[in-house]
Symmetry: C2
Subunit: 140 residues, 2 copies
């Protein structure tokens, strides 16, 4: 979906400078499928400072180039986002492949929740875990 050029364009649109460090991080990130940790990126761009890698990951997340994927143990990974709107993930616990989902909380459920609790609902986390077709046939 994204390539280096399109991300560079996005950066320029945001008024951000195109630096070798940013280009290196973006290239490293675009090279990966599934989800990855900051360390995965750090080890692929040893010439870029640690803080800059973190800063760039954060930038890219805010620009919706990356999204954060919540794993079942509560840890967070990153992934190149296929879609820029609100969505959730289904993650294979065995191979890290990720599906981005249309499914969200039923608005009726949200209303009911607000009504019964008195809370004004502002947000939610919703992430699914399972085993993908490939991984299930591997272990069969």
């Amino acid at each position: 979906m994204y390539n280096l050029q399109s991300v560079v364009q996005r950066l320029e649109e945001e008024g951000l400078r195109i630096t070798p460090s940013r280009l290196a991080v973006v290239a490293a990130v675009l090279d990966l499928s599934g989800h990855f940790s900051v360390d995965d990126i750090l080890s692929q761009v040893p010439e870029v400072g640690r803080a800059t890698v973190f800063r760039t990951m954060k930038l890219l997340s805010e620009m919706d180039v990356l999204c954060r994927v919540l794993l079942d143990d509560g840890s967070l990974r990153y992934r190149v986002s296929q879609r820029q709107d609100h969505h959730h993930h289904l993650v294979c616990v065995s191979c890290a492949s990720v599906q981005e989902l249309d499914a969200c909380i039923d608005p009726e459920v949200l209303n009911e929740l607000a009504r019964t609790t008195g809370y004004e609902i502002e947000g939610h986390w919703l992430e699914f875990f399972g085993r993908c077709t490939a991984c299930r046939s591997d272990s069969a």
Copy 2:
């Protein structure tokens, strides 16, 4: 819901030893409402080693005395659990008060998800955020 005696009994039932460190952590934990961090506990039991505090928190989580609460930024907190079955949380982003919820994913949605993705669904995270009645009237 829980008191020191009942947790001690639970520990004994699990064949675990009753030690001063464990008692101190349990007492500190039972003293708190809402959600709390490991640091909150650490600072209340400075006489107990760091590793032991972590170990005890983990134990209590596995025994369903504590549950982990996911915040909107992706960080995890702990809380004394009111219920021992599968459940989710609604957290006030302003005062840390937590509601434990009956609401869960509609089984129909899960089936649909499994069917359309080919994944075998094994688990999920579902946590809600909002502002409780008290906090909303405070800022009004």
